[in-house]
C-alpha cells in the first residue's frame, strides 16, 4: 500500500465522517465534495483518468452545486434543525450498527481477487478503451440507461411545469 493510497483513504474516511457529523448542512456538502475529490484520487491511482475527471465534473461540479444551491435556499442551520426524539436516535443507532455488523461479517473472509500481471492491460481505464467497451459490448445497457435518464428528466420538467392559469409569482 503506497503512502498516497493511505493518505487518500485517511482523508476520504475523515471527510465522509465529517459529512455525517457536521451540524451545519453547508459544511456537510463541502465535506462531501472533499470526499468526491479523494475518490477521484483513488481512480487516478488505478490509472482511470477518464473516470476521475468525469467524477469531478458530474458529482463535484454539477450535482453538488445543485445540492449547495438548494441548501442555501432552504436556509437550514443549527437553530432551525428539528430535534428528533431520543427513541428515534436510539433506533437509528441500532439500525446503523446492525448494518455495519452485516457488512463486516460479509467482508471478513473475502480475499482480494488480484490480477494476472502477464495479461493485465494498464491502459484499460483510458478513455478510448472505455468508449470501445461501452459502445460495443454494452451498447444496449448504455442506451437503456440514457433513456431512463431522459424519462426522469421529462418527468421532473412535467412536475415543475406550471398549469395554465397558475400564477407566476
Amino acid at each position: 500500500m503506497s503512502p498516497l493510497f493511505l493518505f487518500l483513504s485517511f482523508v476520504a474516511l475523515l471527510s465522509a465522517l465529517g459529512v455525517v457529523l457536521a451540524k451545519n448542512p453547508v459544511h456537510s456538502v463541502l465535506f462531501l465534495i472533499l470526499t468526491f475529490f479523494t475518490l477521484s484520487g483513488h481512480y487516478l491511482l488505478l490509472n482511470a483518468q477518464f473516470l476521475a475527471a468525469v467524477n469531478i465534473i458530474v458529482y463535484a461540479g454539477a450535482i453538488m452545486v445543485l445540492f449547495l444551491f438548494v441548501i442555501m435556499f432552504l436556509n437550514l442551520n443549527e437553530e432551525t434543525e428539528p430535534h428528533k426524539p431520543a427513541l428515534a436516535k436510539f433506533a437509528a443507532a441500532i439500525a446503523g450498527g446492525s448494518l455495519l455488523l452485516i457488512l463486516v461479517a460479509a467482508l471478513r473472509n473475502v480475499s482480494p481477487a488480484g490480477y494476472d500481471p502477464a495479461n493485465f492491460d494498464s491502459q484499460i481505464g483510458m478513455v478510448d478503451k472505455l468508449g470501445m467497451v461501452l459502445f460495443r459490448d454494452y451498447a444496449l445497457p448504455f442506451e437503456l440507461a440514457s433513456i431512463l435518464l431522459l424519462a426522469a428528466m421529462v418527468g421532473s420538467v412535467m412536475l415543475g411545469k406550471r398549469e395554465t392559469g397558475e400564477r407566476n409569482f
Partner: protein, 365 residues
C-alpha cells in the same frame, strides 16, 4: 520519465503559475487602459511610465485596507471562499500547452505543465469547480444580496456549462482525442503545400458555430459582462463580494482575470491552432538550412516563435473580452437563462449532428 526531466517540468509548472499571476495583474491595468481608450479618456498614467506601476499601487492599497468581517458571517468559510476562487482559477492553466518542446542536447523540456490524455476534461472539471468560491463566499457573508449573487452564479454556471460541453463535443468528434497537445498538433499541415492553408487548418474554420457557442459560454463562465449577473451592481450592490474588502476582495477580482486568461488560452488551443503559426515550417526550414545555427537552436527558435504566437492569440482574446465589456450592456436575468437553455443548447446539439453528418459523408475529418 527520469527525475531531472520531472524537475524541469516542475519549473515549467511554476513558470505557468507565475505567468498566470503576472498576466492577471496586468489585466487590471489593461482593463482600465482599454476602458479609457474606448471612452476617449486618458486612463491611469500617474504611477510610473504610462501608469505601468498602477497594479503595484493597487496591490498596496488592497493590502493596507481594513479587513472587515460582517456580523453573523461564517468566518472560516468567509475566508475560504476567495481562496477557493483563486485556487481553482490557477489550477487549470497547468495542462495548457504553450509551445512544443525545447531541445538541449538530450534533454527535452515540454512547454506545458503536465500532459495528461484527458486534458480537456481536466480543464472542464476545474472550471466547473470555480463556482464554489463564489457560492461559498456569497453564502458566508450573511447578506441577502451576496446570497442572491451566489445563487445567480450557481445557476448561470450550470446552465452555460452544458452548452459549453456540447460545443466541445463537436471539436472532440473531429480530433478524436481529449489531449490539448494532440488537438493543437492536429491543427497544422506537416510539410509543404499551399502556405496560407496553415491558417485554414484551425478548428475555428471547421467549427464556426461551435466556436460562437463556446465563446458566449466562456463569457458566462468567467462572469464577464454582458453576463456578470452575479455581481450586477444595479440590482445587487456588488453581488457575491458585497461584504468583501481588502485583499479578499482583491483575490476575487484576480481570480476573474486568471479565469479570463485560462479561457482565452483554452480557446486559442481548441479553435485557433494553439502554438501553430502561418509559414512555420518554411521558417524552420529557413533556420535550419539558410543560417549557421545548430539543429537544436534552429528548433528552439522555431518553438519559441510558437510560444510568441500562442501569447499573441491569448492577448488578442483578452483584448476581445475587455472590448466586449465596454461595448455591450448587461443582460437581464431571464434573458440570460433563455439564451442558455433555449438557444445555445439546441444550437450546440444541432452542431453535433451537423459535425457527425459531415464526418460520416467525409466532408471533414
Amino acid at each position: 520519465m527520469t527525475l531531472p526531466a520531472l524537475g524541469w517540468q516542475g519549473l515549467v509548472v511554476l513558470a505557468t503559475f507565475g505567468i498566470s499571476l503576472l498576466i492577471a495583474t496586468y489585466c487590471t491595468y489593461a482593463e482600465r487602459v482599454i476602458a479609457a481608450f474606448l471612452q476617449d479618456r486618458v486612463g491611469p498614467d500617474r504611477a510610473g511610465p504610462f501608469g505601468l506601476l498602477q497594479p503595484l499601487a493597487d496591490a498596496v492599497k488592497l493590502f493596507t485596507k481594513e479587513e472587515f468581517f460582517p456580523a453573523g458571517a461564517n468566518r472560516a468559510l468567509f475566508v475560504f471562499g476567495p481562496c477557493l476562487a483563486m485556487i481553482t482559477a490557477l489550477m487549470s492553466s497547468a495542462v495548457i500547452p504553450f509551445g512544443g518542446f525545447l531541445q538541449f542536447g538530450d534533454t527535452q523540456i515540454h512547454l506545458q505543465g503536465i500532459e495528461i490524455n484527458v486534458g480537456m476534461l481536466y480543464v472542464f472539471g476545474i472550471v466547473s469547480l470555480g463556482v464554489y468560491g463564489i457560492m461559498i463566499g456569497g453564502w458566508a457573508s450573511n447578506n441577502k444580496f451576496s446570497l442572491l449573487g451566489a445563487i445567480r452564479a450557481a445557476s448561470q454556471n450550470i446552465s452555460y456549462e452544458l452548452a459549453m460541453g456540447l460545443a466541445l463535443i463537436a471539436v472532440l468528434m473531429m480530433s478524436g482525442t481529449l489531449s490539448l497537445r494532440e488537438i493543437t498538433l492536429q491543427q497544422t499541415h506537416v510539410g509543404g503545400g499551399w502556405h496560407l492553408s496553415d491558417i485554414f487548418t484551425w478548428n475555428v474554420f471547421k467549427q464556426p458555430l461551435g466556436f460562437v457557442i463556446f465563446i458566449v459560454c466562456a463569457f458566462a463562465e468567467t462572469n464577464r459582462t454582458p453576463f456578470d449577473l452575479p455581481e450586477c451592481e444595479t440590482e445587487l450592490i456588488g453581488g457575491y463580494h458585497t461584504e468583501y474588502s481588502s485583499m479578499k476582495m482583491g483575490l476575487y477580482l484576480f481570480a476573474e482575470y486568471v479565469n479570463v486568461f485560462v479561457a482565452t488560452a483554452v480557446m486559442s488551443v481548441l479553435y485557433f491552432g494553439g502554438f501553430n503559426y502561418p509559414f512555420q515550417y518554411e521558417f524552420l526550414d529557413f533556420l535550419t538550412n539558410k543560417t549557421s545555427l545548430s539543429a537544436d537552436w534552429a528548433h528552439n527558435i522555431f518553438v519559441l516563435m510558437g510560444v510568441v504566437a500562442m501569447f499573441a492569440k491569448i492577448f488578442t482574446g483578452i483584448f476581445f473580452f475587455m472590448w466586449v465589456r465596454w461595448t455591450l450592456p448587461r443582460f437581464r436575468y431571464d434573458q440570460l437563462m433563455r439564451l442558455g437553455w433555449t438557444i445555445l443548447i439546441p444550437l450546440a446539439i444541432f452542431n453535433i449532428l451537423l459535425t457527425g453528418g459531415l464526418i460520416t459523408f467525409g466532408v471533414i475529418q
